[in-house]
Symmetry: C2
Subunit: 126 residues, 2 copies
């Protein structure tokens, strides 16, 4: 147990060994920020609804707007957001842009998160 040198945290490092070990094993900051950004793309109910919808069928912006009962503008902003994170892709067809899921990772992550939530619910009940 040694006093921490840094100016910010007002505490001792109690378990020097573990901390040293963990520091060595942890991913670099850039990767961790990148991962957080990936989750940010999924961390909004509008975007989750869009993903759930596109998992069932490809759709244009108007379809999604009608489905979620939101303006085209709001939907379009979120679609750009999802596209940037490469979770969905769009192809132009006349006046419309038809969106669909980008790849299978999205589906996989979705499945696991649902499992986690089911178990968390079960636990909380008894």
């Amino acid at each position: 147990m040694t006093k921490c040198k840094c100016a910010i945290c007002d505490c001792n490092t109690i378990h020097d060994e573990q901390v040293k070990l963990v520091k060595k094993k942890m991913l670099d900051d850039e990767s961790l920020i990148c991962i957080a950004d990936f989750y940010k793309a999924l961390a909004d109910s509008t975007r989750i609804k869009i993903i759930n919808a596109l998992d069932k069928s490809e759709l244009c912006v108007c379809d999604i707007s009608a489905l979620l009962n939101m303006t085209k503008s709001a939907i379009s902003h979120q679609l750009q957001n999802l596209k940037e994170m490469r979770l969905i892709k769009g192809r132009k067809s006349g006046k419309e842009v038809i969106y669909s899921l980008a790849d299978d990772h999205v589906r996989q992550v979705f499945e696991i998160s649902m499992q986690h939530i089911k178990e968390a619910k079960r636990e909380s009940k008894g």
Copy 2:
């Protein structure tokens, strides 16, 4: 193609069939919001760093503060956040509270997200 009845979206539903189909297949709102909340718990670099750290070893609040170079208060707030979402758990040991990951889903989701990011990076380069 019919004019959408709802007052909010300023558009037609172009692909009636798909929209009807998707509406039937989609998860209920409550579940989707719940899933988004799960991702919200992961959608912050501080929390991701905490999870990455706890994946390597259990740690107390001071350890994590020293490791991430942040105040105990900020860390504690985020720990409560993660605990509420059942991603981590804490046990008391004297004056300290030792935190660790709650279960394996967290690890699984983490793995898949890293895969996705790797492939997204690869795509964007070539």
